[in-house]
Symmetry: D3
Subunit: 307 residues, 6 copies
């Protein structure tokens, strides 16, 4: 708390709701954002949306924790829809066991898919019944408080599931792979396994979760690949929705936030997809995301004049 307050004692003059709006990240969760916000409010004498990831009691948004996972599944849905398919009946391998993985499991399940794996530093769990129920997550969350960083506990309660110590879920035969844990968690070797097992789509949800050899292989082999910079935008987008709610001095319902998140992800997918097509790389989301992102920033810079 002291560190957050001292840090904000200098930072407060450099940020603002219309200037720069920091959000949490690794090591800066809701607790730290609360302390930072309290100190900002005290010093700047302003109560506004200067930080995102706030607690629900003082300006935070519903659906924020699960937003990245939800958004990634919406992106997957759009990709499938582009090929005339849907999530209905698909199997998904998810890695990780935190907020992102949670969001992917819940939303994937809502949209008719079955998430069959999650993973931790200790290995991965395979549950042929699917992991997308609130009951299963509540148990898991509770267990993780007691035995930190272990997902093996899952199989104690749900005996149909199996635990594979020290291994990664990419060895399972699934339709879709969604790495949701950390960078470089899906290697070139993993990619070969997925391709061999007939996976049709890979959604990179963790930041740079797939090694370069991996995503190049996917594109080469015709596996639809969504790069993280597009697919995991749901978290940042919901920070933006939190800012909107703060600006309007209103709190949206979970349904409203979810609906807007869905719309944003649809637009991001559209932008990547069509940019890729226009520039001669149809279906290549990596190229589409890079060009669309660069163009938007570059155009705005030129339009606003040189310094």
């Amino acid at each position: 708390m002291r560190f957050c307050q001292s840090f904000m004692s200098e930072l407060f003059r450099h940020i603002g709701a219309d200037l720069d709006v920091p959000a949490g990240d690794i090591g800066v969760g809701g607790r730290e954002v609360g302390f930072l916000f309290g100190q900002y409010k005290r010093l700047a004498n302003q109560w506004n949306g200067v930080l995102t990831g706030k607690g629900l009691n003082f300006g935070g948004s519903l659906v924020r924790p699960e937003a990245t996972g939800f958004g990634a599944v919406y992106f997957a849905q759009e990709m499938l829809s582009e090929r005339g398919e849907s999530l209905e009946g698909k199997t998904i391998a998810v890695s990780g066991f935190g907020n992102v993985a949670w969001g992917a499991c819940i939303k994937g399940s809502q949209l008719g898919a079955k998430v069959v794996t999650i993973s931790g530093p200790d290995g991965y769990v395979y549950d042929p019944d699917g992991i997308g129920t609130q009951e299963k997550w509540d148990y898991l969350t509770q267990m993780l408080v007691i035995e930190r960083e272990k997902c093996e506990t899952y199989v104690r309660k749900f005996p149909k599931a199996e635990f594979f110590a020290g291994r990664k879920p990419w060895e399972r035969k699934v339709d879709i792979a969604m790495p949701c844990a950390i960078q470089n968690e899906l290697s070139g070797e993993d990619a070969k396994l997925l391709v061999a097992n007939g996976a049709s789509s890979v959604i990179e949800v963790s930041n740079m979760g797939c090694a370069a050899e991996a995503w190049k292989l996917f594109i080469e082999k015709g596996v639809a690949f969504a790069p993280g910079k597009a697919a995991n935008a749901g978290g940042v987008a919901t920070s933006g929705l939190e800012m909107s709610q703060n600006s309007m001095r209103l709190a949206w319902s979970a349904e409203e936030v979810d609906r807007r998140l869905h719309e944003i992800m649809r637009n991001i997918h559209r932008s990547c997809f069509e940019t890729a097509k226009r520039y001669g790389f149809p279906g290549n989301y990596v190229v589409g995301a890079n060009i669309a992102g660069f163009k938007k920033v570059a155009d705005a810079m030129v339009d606003q004049g040189l310094a």
Copy 2:
């Protein structure tokens, strides 16, 4: 006007749309808020939602005058609904003859109840036909300009109504009592009469309108009692909606404001009701409101760190 301007000449540096937002109260009505707002604008060089209760021509909100009364009726509706009842066909005793009473009469009537009393410093009026029509209020408002603080004039125009000089409406047999005038207007004796006459609900709309003996008796005797801090929140809530409209630079229609007010009152009721239940006092709105309010503030303080 001079006083408002001189007062604001110092106050303007201590308030702000993101800092502290004063509203009118006893003796500070729309006229004074207008003068204060004009001076704020002149000195702070800012046109925003720094005050609430503004005129409709410069940022005020529709439904603001009647908001407290509307909100209290919505709260009553939720209370009844919790017991499987509705306002349809119920009789209501209202005290007072100002904006708050007006709002209660109109909204109560819209939702199917019949408001049979209003009151002034001179006594109360009993109208067996109900007082919830715009025509009746327009007449009353007009009369009050001529003969200040007298509601007896009502019976001149509407002869079916009776006037009872120097007495209070709580002696009537009604289903619901809504004190809407001033603090301590409903004494322990009044409470005994209401209980004896079989009233099933009391909605405290004026701030601390019921003496301590009164509301303790209601709870003891199983009469549903809504404390003012919860039931009269509609006024403050609509000040919040005025701030939202200012922040969005939009003016909502009366229907939109009313709809949002309704939703807010529903949430307040839910929060009181469920908190009371969770802490072992089912149906006790006093306990529910106190705990829910305290918890919200205390949690936010702790989350934002110690000074």
Copy 3:
């Protein structure tokens, strides 16, 4: 660019989202607003709605270019509806060939009318098939880049249309006339022609497009006349909607902006129409707009106190 930046180096301290919000005008288009906005952002260290007419990439609103034309057609629709008529099947003469004329053609056509003329400094085009398709406008816009200020090129591509060099569209027999070019473009003589040809409505869209003799004649002869200060408010209104979107940190869809623009124009029409009636000049929109506008400003000034 240097001029915009140097100008803003002084202006930035006198404007603000809650203070004064400049917009483009003749000679200050999207390009200049972009340069001004870039410099404001750099100096004020604020990213907000301090200017309107911004590019879509940095806070601009959809439907802004065509807003004035759309709004004028909505106003016309209300005028007709007041007389029990509609735009369905009506013929409209439009002057000009810029954003305003474009908006009028597109929206008029959407609502079932046929716009049969546009004009330029070189004369006017008469197209009996109507000019309200995107295809025709795209061609025209392209031509205007090559041969500036000439609308004669239109007839090269669409041979059913005729070009009348050096003349004005008001000589055609139409139901509705909409001057959309420059001030004083519709003289007393033009007005006589329109009256003689049986036009039932004139919507002044350009600022003071009709000479005083012209609009006085319309009122005298019972031709419904909408003054520019009311009918062309759609542009300013959409600047207001751009400010709202900036304040909410959201971008509305084109449908949403259009819907709100429609509602605003309906309210403006209502206010003019009813004010005229209340003050004893039924159907006289000139009187209605003047009184309603003056009253709104005067009331707000009085309410906010004398300086």
Copy 4:
């Protein structure tokens, strides 16, 4: 007072001790500066040297009222010294009877000269004994309160003096003329009289007190002529010294202010004199003041870069 306060309610955001520092002028004396300062302090919440000409109780400077007259005499002294002469024993004709004339009489007398005239709208007084004693001024000041704008009263008390109704002091034979009243008070005709009577120096103290024909004649005839823009700089200079005292939060003694004023006037004289010589117009203070002033401003502008 209300006017000063309302005026400052807008002005306060455009001035500042480091930005722009207004001073009194015709119609804005110590009383008005006090009201303006009080309102500035109230609104800006700053107590500093934002205005000059303040009362001695809240930041004003000693010697300010008499500064212009003192400065002009110092300038005269330098001019004489340049020709190997001094004020000792010289006779001076002064016009006017306000602060400026007062300062010239007192300081001229201190330095050994004899001021033999003062004037008012009613004519001029000639006192062969000299007017440079505090006793004579005290009497005069007192009389002017009773019979406004009349200097004739002077001769009632001091019978050796004579009053010349409706005439100007320039008809007297004196060594030095110092117009201290209003613009254009010394005409071409007056100039001829002074030249004919052998005046050796003319110090223009009022702003543009000498008509163009007058000062041109002086230069032509070899009469040393000091233009007002240089000779009356003592008032503005002492406003600068007031700012210095405010910045240092100290009040200088009258001697200290007088000493610094003397030094400033010496430098101004030197700058005019040497600039005139360097540019080929030795002894021409008009040319010297113009070039020196222009050069100082132009150099600073170029050094600080183009906007």
Copy 5:
């Protein structure tokens, strides 16, 4: 330190070098001022004279600790001089043993007087050789660190001095009494003793050090009495000089501060003395200080206009 920082986290927005400048007082010494200043600097991002009593390393002034005592002796000197006397050869009884007493001893001694007493909560010391040497004070200061609040230790080192436990120095026969400890330390009884012993002057240095009966007796008996509000102004005056040094970004030498302090005290004495005479109470410093102080504030308020 934490308390000072947290306090300043709110206070910093209400103070400023041109707004309000707090100084230390009882319980807030150099250490606390340092912590407050550090936090102000951190938050306000300003390095200026916002507090006085700072350490010498960051903007404090020399002579500040001893200023109150020095100033009181200067005041005494002026009082004597008014009666044609001087401090040369006078004996002085001082109470207290802190900074104020120290200053009085040192300066009294420098000006030729002999301070024969100091006192503590335990009693008083009488030293017929005088206490005005640095050596004696250094010893005392050192002892007070070891045995807090005891001045008895003095006699151990300087055996010619005597200690009188539980008594006050006012029983000694001296020319001048200077109470320098706490309020009400010199009672009516003490005053009678001093009068009986022929004291000619009493300088109240502690705030309200003399009971009302005491100072009334002095005035009645013709003993020259200087009230604290005038005589102890040296401390506040030196805070003002610290502000001047901060504003000038210079540090004056001890001699310079002492010289200015002397001049200020001379002016304060003159103002009290002459005001008393002008209003008909010659020699009554109590009346003089009250009227002169009130008049200065009242005049400035009136001159700056009503709020």
Copy 6:
């Protein structure tokens, strides 16, 4: 100019007269400071001492260019005086030919020493008559404009002087050496030569002008050595005096600035000398400067509290 303006467009919000005051340095001379100041003034709307090294026309200080050289000679004078000697009759070897060398030559000569060398990239000049006259410097300055970086031209005009191409002045037999050019210009070998030739003092004026072996040798051999961090403080000190003049809104005469500079250098010398003695290294200015500097900063930090 454009670069300076663009740079200041961001910098202006991070600096201020009470916050951070940049000064020129290598590549940022009076011209650049002027452009930066002009842009600061334009954007911050403040005219104050936010930068030092300004032009004389807009807030710069006299004696600033020569201040470093002057200060170094004052330091030398104090060092000699400490040993009972003076500059009278001493010979000095100076390197460099810029402002610093110029100041050292002029001031050294004023105080009775004879500066016999200056140097450039091309070699050094030895003038047995001394180089401390304004006439010689004016010639040199003029030559340097024509033939940049060549000091050989000196001997053309003053034939008694000799030029030694490619060599350094430390080979001359002198009493005092003052490196005034660049870092590391005086090597260990040069130091041996100076020691061998009997130099008694070395004043490092350039920043780190002496290699570590050099100054260690001087201390070892008993040659008085002044480190640059103390001896060249005259430049920074005069920036401080420029800030003082800006704060007081006054310009000091050259004599006044020189006098204050002298006093500051005397205090710096005293502080180094006495600190060295107190900590057991008498005569070691390197140790004295390091400890005194560190202690001052560390004490102020501790006094102001931990962040």
